[in-house]
Symmetry: C2
Subunit: 409 residues, 2 copies
């Protein structure tokens, strides 16, 4: 059961002018599961991406990057689940190209106008024939109202599809944004393991779009972790069709650009948090604020040391205020000149530790009460500067182990 996250309704997801979506059951996954998605973009659309940093990046990542570099208009995105096409060498790259060519033939465009994305099991040969055979069905049911079906088609161990729409007024023009994402395990910064696609009808210049994508990712997908694993396949794609009636947003720091970045960041944060809420086996949603650091980077280090500690995570699962484990994680986060006697720790509003030790007024019943909640905030004050960070994570339950032990069965 995800933590405070419910199934979106199809009617809550707004169509984005110029974007159509078609899905199919290609038989890559178990029968009865949608596993293939085509997203087409109308002429004049723009797209930018943030890709995984994993050196073992998968064939579709290599091919998508190469196709983007060709600087042709992007006609469509082709996404499959059930197979990651990673650790598959040159053959995997050929397979990714074959699926692009097949879709290009159907859409009558250059194969480099197709961007491929895959997610699923690593190091298995790609069932190219199933995909190619199912593409005509995807194309036949392309429709601008298919966002929910699209969100379902990219799910892996997700228990609910993740999708959201927003509308915002930019200089009087109504702009629509709809986004979908998948991700539940193997989650940590640098796009892992997740796919997110956010589309808008706004008219946005390419430099602004690039800047917005990067900064939105920094404040969302790069702030979450479930288990610290970084995947081979992942990407966040931001696309605009330019079909809203508005002048193009150009200046990176213009008022319009800031409004647009704000709404994209909100959407990305919601999708990123949805992944944590649906984190494999998660029963708690935990926000970690680190304040008073010398630099942002050291705050992030402290936050991830806490977020990745299996001992902290199991204590949260058990609702056990064994909070010394948080202090231990701060201590090994890698800040060489950390003065622990300046550190304070809050759990929601409860002061747990001050001056690097158990707070004199702290009483375990108060800690216990917070630990029982489903949404908990850990606040660490480092007392050495004014930098801050915010990170979202979940607890570690026996269910996580079960899901990942049985992933392929």
């Amino acid at each position: 059961m995800p933590v405070n996250l419910t199934q979106p309704l199809a009617e809550q997801l707004l169509p984005v002018k110029g974007v159509a979506l078609g899905v199919a059951e290609a038989g890559i996954k178990k029968p009865g599961r949608k596993d293939l998605l085509v997203i087409t973009l109308a002429q004049g659309s723009k797209i930018v991406g943030v890709f995984t940093q994993n050196r073992f990046c998968a064939a579709p990542v290599l091919v998508s990057r190469e196709h983007l570099q060709a600087k042709l208009p992007v006609w469509a995105l082709l996404v499959n689940t059930g197979n990651a096409n990673a650790g598959t060498g040159d053959e995997g790259v050929d397979h990714a190209r074959q699926t692009c060519s097949a879709l290009a033939k159907l859409l009558k465009c250059d194969p480099r106008s197709i961007l491929p994305f895959s997610t699923g099991v690593i190091m298995e040969p790609m069932p190219v024939e199933c995909i190619v055979a199912s593409l005509p069905r995807c194309v036949a049911n392309l429709h601008e109202n298919n966002w929910l079906k699209a969100a379902e088609a990219i799910m892996t161990t997700d228990t609910v599809p993740k999708a959201l729409s927003k509308q915002v007024s930019i200089n009087g023009a109504k702009v629509t944004i709809t986004g979908i994402a998948k991700g539940a395990g193997m989650i940590r910064p640098n796009m892992a393991t997740m796919l997110a696609f956010i589309a808008s009808d706004a008219r946005v210049g390419l430099p602004v779009l690039r800047s917005v994508a990067r900064r939105a990712a920094d404040d969302s997908f790069h702030c979450i972790t479930v288990d610290g694993d970084t995947s081979t396949n992942d990407a966040f794609m931001l696309m605009t069709t330019g079909q809203a009636q508005m002048p193009e947003i150009t200046g990176i720091n213009s008022r319009e650009s800031i409004i647009f970045r704000g709404v994209i960041t909100e959407m990305a944060q919601w999708l990123a948090q949805a992944m944590v809420r649906d984190g494999e086996g998660a029963t708690k949603f935990i926000t970690i604020s680190v304040e008073g650091g010398k630099r942002h980077e050291e705050c992030v280090k402290v936050a991830f040391a806490i977020a990745h500690s299996p001992l902290v995570k199991t204590a949260f699962f058990a609702s056990d205020p064994n909070l010394g484990r948080i202090l231990a994680a701060i201590g090994y986060a890698g800040i060489a000149d950390l003065d622990v006697s300046k550190i304070s720790l809050y759990l929601d509003e409860v002061l747990v530790a001050e001056n690097g030790r158990r707070a004199i007024r702290y009483n375990e019943a108060d800690g216990q009460e917070v630990m029982r909640k489903q949404e908990i905030r850990i606040r660490v004050l480092l007392g050495r500067g004014s930098a801050t960070s915010k990170t979202w994570t979940c607890d570690l339950s026996p269910e996580y182990v079960k899901i990942n032990s049985e992933y392929r069965t």
Copy 2:
């Protein structure tokens, strides 16, 4: 059930001339559990230590380091379980000093001749009175044959005591070494979470002893990980009483020194591996060899990325050869210029991946057969140099989560 590790027998543990051990039930832990240990060292003994790198190091670590710096002869080590005396601030330091003073009074020595060690729950006030009240019982039962009782008295979540003796001939003189250790979870390099005490009757100069301790730790305790957590309290202490009939070992690279280092390293490796074998919830013992790196440090990075990946660990628990997860971990280990097309991966003798992709001859039944074993070797060939590393770890099972959820109950 630990992986291929059985309870040692008291008669297998050899007394070390000049070392006596006394234990008691001080009531820090549940009734019926030994939780207090005193180890005394005869006059003329030498002792060196390797301590935790955690910035939140516990009060006993601070006090032990300070007492060592006083350069007085060390008369005794005082070890308790059940409470870590960490995150306890100045009061914790006072408590550690009080226990040292109480033991010093009984032994009639300077309090700085006592080194304190604690392990257990973090951020709880230390039950000083229980400890002080039980010290006379420890002192009353001091005996050179108490090594097994000592190993039992330092256990936390360990399911078996960890102890070993060896004898070696150095230039015709018989040298005896006996060691004990505790550790089962929160295990990673830099002494976490573990205590290890190795004693010998050898006559060894202090510079040699320092060098041996550091190098033995590098090749043993720094090569293991269970869950990646680094504790606040941990230490490896190496002590010699000098009571064997032999000339003092002085040159760091002398033949005698190399023999001594060899046997201490073997003991330390056995104790380190015993912690992994008894790792919380462990069902598999995994050796990770990384070869062909440019530097040792990058091999270690790759090994720990694999060893810390919850996805790799759960696949091993499930005996599921989902080995792409190992490639993904290699890819995010942080080697920026890694050429994945040069990487090979073996599971025992089975070639799983070559040239960065699934090996052509690899067949899953072979991988499956290896995955079913209790002891498995992962061998990664990076193909970029001649550096190597060796690391030991275990799998991740639901039992790990259960143990750490219920640790304080």
